[in-house]
Amino acid sequence: MKTKKQGLIIGFILLALLFVGLYILENTLSSSTMLLTILKKGVIYALIAVSMNLLNGFTGLFSLGQAGFMLIGAYTYAILTIPVGMRSMIYQYYDGGIVQFAMPALVGILCAGLLAAFFAFLVGLPVLRLKSDYLAIATLGFAEIIRAIIQYEGLGPLTNGSNLLRRFPTFQSVLYPFAAAAICIGVIVLLINSTYGRAFKAIRDDEVAAEAMGINLFFHKQLSFVMSSFFAGIGGALLAMYQGSIQAATFKSTMTYEILLIVVIGGMGSVTGSVIASFLFVASSEWWLRFLDNEMFIGSFHMPLLRSGFRMVVFSVIIMAVVLFYRRGIMGDKEFSPTRIRNRLLNRKAGRNA
């Protein structure tokens, strides 16, 4: 109990330091550097990955619908917050669209989460009765259906059909997405550590036993599904803010797969794992490996293989390697906490002394 409190305190201190660090970073670096971009996208993906982990890692529900709920979140946010003045320009084919008001960004984000959660509730009613891989394919299907509906010309005045939504409020400072993600992930962690979280894990480990312990499978699955989608929706809204423009066509199942792979790399059932993996994933796909996409000359020697697309090949090979040989991912189902490290150190010392 005591150590737990200490851990909490240390955790908070570290979080504070992180924000201070970010603040300094932001004011010292030139805004053009890739680092800040990576940090922004990374933290948003972290939130989305954690939300998916809540479902796949902690409750053992293999759902592939994440992109769909992100889509709902992103569109809800965009539709609600585009300044009225801009609408005629953006809804250029639907003479301004039917939504003629704009909400403050925060309200928009909240609505994004709520609407995603609401749809998750509806989708969950039928789908959550399905078993593992049927659930996967069904949720995948729902994501595709949602995409088709949003792109439907008939809904143009609301969703702008297939066309971009843009010019909605975005964030400049990296601090905002970090703050938002930190709060959301915090809530998820609290939920996981609560008695409900324990019920989730029980369901993951053994449905029959869990039921025999008086845990209502459907209710808890539904709860986990709705919660996960709520945060996926918020993640979608943040992603929209990060990108500055969104288009339904980009929220494909590939997006879900990428997030799933992040969760796997980080370790199913490890929040910190997902967070670390997200930053690694984003940084390496958007930044460190980019050089692989450009033809390179060392002197007159033309580097072989390097050309557009090579980055993703290398990248997916790495992922396969993790999936096959490093199945538990970076963290397994453990968490990365200061107290743990301290204990490890102490143990090591003890080991040396003995």
């Binding site: 008695t195 324990r198 029980a202 053994d206 039921e211 312990m213």
Partner: protein, 279 residues
């Protein structure tokens, strides 16, 4: 007369053409230890699963403290296939999910141990206290229910203490030796605060010594928590010295019923068993 703790009326479980339990009728009075025995594949566990809502019986009903908790009659494809009797006796259909049955006060253990693999000994028990929660997800997440949380933990510790696993509460449940895993399963079931406890072959794979201890232990928990106990067992000696009444089934049918000494020298039982294994 007072309501029985548990009553099975004409319970029949049929998978396709196979009749696993055939017109099984039995009862358990409050405070009794009753055993259901029979050779392998006689349908004992199936009977259990009909009571706990894991299976939906093809026909018959289960009453708990006088109230019908499970009831069904052949329907759909079964109408034609049904091989049992009294097909029209139970018109109403009651088909609760297992968690509801547990909530009513019927706890159980499993023949093939089903602990929560990734959880510690303590967490395994703690999970079982979830069903008596009063908090909603949010109040639980934000620890507004800290009092309740504390009570849950205290109860769990108490249970572990009682089954003598408190010392290893932070070990991974699956790392425990076999016998202790069985005890943990019992502790977990107790944490759901049952009135009726169903034990599915609790002594399976134990040596005579452990079995004897287990026997004493079962009696002890019965006394301590004022439970009624319904157990399935293979070990005759255990059954004989702890249970007050015994039901014997073979090929899903009830072949004998009575007090241990009556069963001991019941020819049907002996033949049923000699066919399969020696006592």
């Amino acid at each position: 007369m007072p309501d029985k703790m548990l009553e099975l009326d004409d319970i029949t479980m049929q998978f396709g053409g196979v009749v696993a339990v055939n017109n099984l009728s039995m009862f358990i009075d409050e405070g009794e230890i009753v055993a259901l025995i029979g050779p392998n594949g006689a349908g004992k566990t199936t009977a259990f699963n009909c009571v706990t809502g894991v299976y939906k019986p093809t026909n018959g009903q289960v009453k708990y403290q006088g109230q019908v908790i499970v009831s069904n009659h052949p329907a759909g494809k079964m109408k034609a296939l049904y091989a049992g009797e009294n097909r029209d006796k139970y018109p109403q259909v009651v088909d609760p999910t297992p968690d509801k049955i547990t909530r009513m006060g019927i706890g159980r253990t499993f023949q093939n141990i089903r602990l929560f693999k990734t959880q510690t000994v303590f967490e395994n028990v703690l999970i079982a206290t979830h069903l008596h929660r009063t908090s909603n997800p949010l109040s639980a997440a934000f620890r507004i229910n800290w009092r309740e949380e504390r009570r849950m933990r205290e109860l769990s510790l108490e249970m572990l203490d009682f089954v003598g696993l408190a010392a290893m509460k932070d070990e991974l449940a699956t790392s425990l030796p076999y016998g202790k895993q069985r005890r943990l399963e019992i502790a977990r079931a107790l944490a759901t605060k049952p009135k009726l406890l169903l034990l599915d072959e609790p002594a399976a794979g134990m040596n005579p010594q452990e079995t004897a201890d287990l026997g004493r232990f079962i009696v002890e928990i019965k006394e301590r928590f004022g439970l009624t106990i319904f157990l399935i067992e293979h070990h005759m000696d255990l059954v004989m010295d702890i249970s007050e009444r015994i039901y014997v089934i073979d090929f899903g049918k009830l072949i004998a019923h009575g007090e241990p000494h009556e069963i001991q020298d019941n020819p049907d039982v002996i033949t049923a068993y000699l066919g399969v294994e020696d006592i």
